[in-house]
Symmetry: C2
Subunit: 516 residues, 2 copies
């Protein structure tokens, strides 16, 4: 495959799995042409007059939807590591003798390790989606037939909408559904709170299958999935393992270093003035992020301030902020713990809000561009402030992009990260894989100092002389190397095993097979 250098200086292939690819041109530089993907027309003639679309089994549903060689099957990941349905799709495909499928999950989890056998036996050609843990290692070792394509949550819906990837069959697990196919994320034994990741799938897939363990009377509402788009409904005993779908409780970090980073971050938000009455904020569900949320909550209470809204993945700490009056609304694509699920059910100000609306770069504005404070992580950051979230320094593909690239478009992007993990520096000369350009990353906060991107003179000015431990990113890198030594570069073969897409569908980097 011919490789060319993109605008970020990274070598990327001219095509991906036989389809022409556009190299990254710079932030905001690629203008799409053409039109949205147009699914085939349906007609009521083909659907039962009583609107009862329940069929006996997932196999029957897949057969009715015409599952065959080479098709693309999409799924969402709201059941996370507790998912009991997605692997079944490929068990059935293998039983049916179907080959060369493309699996388009919104994310995969360690529980999906069993699909490796279907990647090996040719049932699945490739996965386009995040590869966490064992699947990522499988890809990195060059064992997947097709090339992996990693997209952000927003990039995935952009690709679906734009027809870069065409979904033949979407299999949507739903914690509640009626016989017509209206479905939602609340209620029942496998509640996920919201189904925000499935929206592009049901709008653009040729065929849609709802799988539920909780068939309720029509109308199932609020309808996150509209029955008018649904072909079949399948009722199963159990969608997932509840304790692995949502955490009983999300846990704040106990590491003294991480707590220090969280405290420094809260302090930075206060001193810089980024935290103010009416501000908007998004953090994650990691231990450090949760600690930041707790510190910020305290500050808000002390000052009598209220955040205008927060964007989820929601956690009990966000819910607490809202319930105690320090956050107006939670807009939410994903509920991470039981308190968050309860809040979606009970509180009208906790609003399901799909990534299709929040993150799709090929729409008329994104929610993320109006977030004042964006807290994100990274596996590596380099001295140009470029970020990596998918590979480790050893070159192994072990994480998905999630919403990370989309969130980089917020007003102030802050990465609280440890200087090193397991004695491997996080701040490096050059990131192993480029996932986000440095021009979009504003602040790095470590336990040994805060580095502000020189492009953000306004932020530098806002905190000057306020007692914060300001350093340069170069200094951070040197400190890390002083402690851990200079890290070894990962050793790669030539073969490209994965393409990393940018939010606009262009290719920002490639991941190569690790040298064995």
């Amino acid at each position: 495959m011919k490789m060319i250098k993109n605008a970020a200086g990274r070598m990327v292939g001219e095509e991906i799995n036989g389809q022409e690819a556009v190299p990254f041109k710079g932030v905001g530089k690629h203008r799409p042409s053409g039109r949205k993907y147009a699914p085939p027309l349906a007609t009521c003639i083909d659907y039962p007059g009583d609107n009862n679309k329940v069929v006996a089994s997932l196999r029957e549903a897949l057969e009715r939807c015409g599952l065959r060689d080479g098709m693309t099957v999409s799924t969402h990941h709201h059941l996370r590591d507790g998912d009991l349905v997605n692997n079944r799709i490929f068990d059935i495909a293998a039983e049916m003798g179907v080959k060369d499928l493309v699996w388009l999950p919104s994310a995969s989890f360690p529980c999906n390790e069993p699909v490796i056998k279907y990647l090996e036996d040719g049932t699945i050609n490739r996965i386009e989606g995040s590869m966490n843990g064992p699947l990522g290692r499988f890809v990195s070792e060059g064992r997947m037939k097709g090339m992996a394509v990693l997209r952000s949550h927003g990039g995935r819906v952009q690709a679906i909408q734009d027809g870069e990837v065409k979904i033949d069959i979407a299999v949507i697990t739903a914690p509640a559904a009626d016989f017509f196919g209206n479905a939602k994320g609340t209620g029942g034994p496998s509640a996920t709170g919201v189904l925000g990741y499935a929206k592009a799938d049901y709008l653009y897939a040729d065929r849609v299958i709802i799988v539920t363990d909780n068939l309720i009377d029509l109308p199932c509402f609020p309808m996150e999935i509209e029955g008018n788009y649904v072909d079949c409904v399948v009722v199963v005993d159990k969608l997932g393992i509840p304790e692995k779908i949502v955490s009983g409780t999300t846990q704040i970090t106990r590491s003294p270093d991480r707590l220090l980073i969280a405290e420094l971050t809260a302090l930075f938000l206060e001193k810089s003035g980024l935290l103010h009455d009416g501000a908007t904020m998004q953090a994650g569900a990691g231990g450090t992020s949760l600690a930041i949320a707790v510190f910020v909550h305290e500050m808000l209470k002390q000052k009598g301030w209220k955040l205008s809204f927060g964007f989820g993945g929601s956690t009990k700490y966000m819910v607490k902020m809202m319930e105690e009056g320090q956050m107006g609304y939670i807009l939410d694509a994903q509920a991470f713990d039981l308190d968050a699920v309860r809040s979606v059910e009970e509180n009208p100000n906790h609003i399901p809000y799909s990534v299709f609306n929040a993150y799709n770069y090929h729409s008329k504005g994104n929610l993320t561009t109006m977030m004042d404070i964006m807290i994100l992580g990274a596996t590596e950051i380099d001295t140009e402030f470029n970020g990596n979230v998918v590979t480790h320094s050893d070159g192994l593909l072990l994480h998905g992009i999630g919403g990370w690239q989309n969130c980089l478009h917020a007003r102030n992007v802050i990465l609280p990260v440890p200087l090193f993990r397991d004695r491997i520096p996080v701040i490096v000369d050059q990131v192993t894989t480029l996932c986000g350009p440095g021009e979009l990353i504003d602040v790095i906060i470590t336990e040994r100092g805060i580095a502000i991107n020189p492009r953000r003179q306004d932020l530098l000015d806002s905190v000057r002389g306020k007692g914060l431990p300001l350093v340069t990113v170069q200094e951070l890198k040197e400190m890390a190397e002083k402690i851990c030594g200079k890290p070894e570069k990962a050793a790669f073969d030539d073969r490209v095993v994965a393409a990393i897409k940018w939010v606009d569908g262009t290719v920002i980097d490639s991941v190569r097979k690790v040298r064995s």
Copy 2:
């Protein structure tokens, strides 16, 4: 234009406004090919980073959206006869010197009479949508340049979805909106309750303008219109005249004949067993329908039954049923009075539900097919049970189709109508204009007897010997002629002034110019 006879025996043109037309093939006989309409791709690059899309005026918005000759501009009719915005669009177009526009309203009202001057001066080529009162007369007199196209509410969204009609600019008046363009029907001085008619418009229009008199803080939710699809937001002083948007109160008929029809209808529902615990029902907002709702409500209370859900247009009588426990839910595309608007705001079981979901025949099932009881009106019904809702016996086009054709797909379609109006028979030999085939109309209930369609032997059996005044449709026609005399046929010229579409986009009939 070459005319051909369609499957209902009606003469229809082979083309409409230069575009090929498919003649009606029979109920459930036309299978669409091809794909949904694909609007052009947008990109965040073209929208403000702070997501503030407010522009100074409707003119500026129309200019930014590139209004020019020949474009199609769509609007909804939730402001009904109180609308102060839709005529303004064409004032501005005329000021800009734009010609040959197509106006695609979801309905027009007498308040839209001023657009006649723009039909005369060439600003507007034609209206595709219902023509009530003065506009209908204008069309019937052969004074509109292009040919009118009348579609049901469901047919309109089918045509938009299928790309039969392509919306260049949708102008959506919204009782509440935020600066990003999220919008809803509740709140503010011009509340309409829901915005169900605007859904296809915002999903498929190339450009979308929100006009509001109530700009609220982001997030405006629940988002009936999603800001990601919106180009511009315009803030005006006043969207509409509240007392003409919704009735302060919808009024039950006081006519003794109509009350008798209502009572007979309720009796028929009871004796036939169509009314039962858990049934679903849809009626309208006319005086007779309201009286039927009151009678039915009483029966439900007496028997301790509860309707599963009702589909709106909602009225205070439906709201009362729900609030007193005789109706589970109201699914609602349109709120007709102040109690209905209040109910949408307050009651989570009063659910906005667009006609796009309920009525679009080119989707995977329609809500209407599962309605047990459907109460509809008609201007004429003939001895084959065919129905007309758009013209009067004098041939004048004076009404829109509304949801009438879509609702014919319910399980039991009942038309309570007077035997005559102003001494003109309603039951006739042959309808002036065919809007719905007789095979879909089950029961005609008049003040002088009930005629059941012979195709519905089951219904005939269900009420035999139960004391209802059963007659044949032939007998009804004869009674009407005995009282009123045989009605004169309308006198028409050859020229076709309007095409009547069926729910699947085929042409079921034509309306000709009345002879002057």
